[in-house]
Amino acid sequence: MKLLYFAWVRERVGKTEEQLDLPAGITTVGELMAWLARRGEEYAYAFENPKVIRAAIDRSHVRADAKLAGASEIAFFPPMTGG
């Protein structure tokens, strides 16, 4: 699946997107954030407070308990400040 990062999540991770094979045992968005946070310093920094990070699966907002099965694009970003 493709992971996308925006705004300060992107800056902290240090990349805009990457490909990832879903790790075994990871089934929800929240579990994926916790798994990413253990991947290295930059990920730990980006996901240090997962409660403030929003997520989208295939371009629709989802909550942390959303299932990843069937997802092809998952995005992580801070609360939105458009308009």
Binding site: L4, F6, A7, W8, A56, R59, S60, H61, A75, F77, P78, P79, M80, T81, G82, G83
Partner: protein, 161 residues
């Protein structure tokens, strides 16, 4: 129902976009427009510019979902949402929301609904350039509560065709 949704880097002519809402029709009795403009300060500090980052693909889809929701709630004849991205300097237009209906209540309510949802649900992020460097604008709780008040839906009407 005429819907225009555009995300673009370039500036646009607000008056020309608003004129399109009524062109060639005689059933519009009310047009409400909201224009969001880049201020020269953020949180009391002067800024040189702001840069809007967005999630291409999702931003359009999310705005379209909210326009659809607005059409289900109010008898709209036309709606336009244009949101810029990239670097903007103070005085430049960031966003235009314009709604047209036979009567003012629907146009006012739908424009406000669309703006409240744009602020909290459309995937855009503002970064400002201050003297000390760049900073991401923090989301405001007041924007969340403004969007929250629409979450109890009023009775639906037959959408204007």
């Amino acid at each position: 129902m005429t819907v225009t949704i555009r995300l673009q880097r370039e500036a646009f002519d607000v008056a020309a976009e608003v004129a399109l809402l009524t062109r060639g029709r005689s059933d519009v009795g009310a047009v409400v427009t909201f224009t969001g403009v880049c201020r020269a300060d953020e949180g009391g500090e002067p800024i040189a510019a702001l840069t809007l980052e967005h999630y291409p693909g999702m931003a359009e889809a999310e705005i379209a979902r909210h326009v659809e929701e607005a059409c289900a709630r109010w008898p709209l004849i036309a709606a336009t949402v244009i949101h810029r991205h990239g670097r903007l300097t103070p005085g430049e237009v960031i966003v235009l929301v314009a709604t047209a209906s036979s009567h003012r209540q629907a146009a006012f309510a739908a424009a406000e609904f669309l703006m409240d949802y744009l602020k909290t649900r459309a995937p855009f992020w503002k970064q400002v350039e201050k003297v000390a460097g760049t900073a991401w604008v923090a989301a405001k709780a007041a924007d969340d509560s403004a969007a929250e008040r629409w979450s109890a839906p009023p009775p639906r009407h037959e959408a204007a065709k």
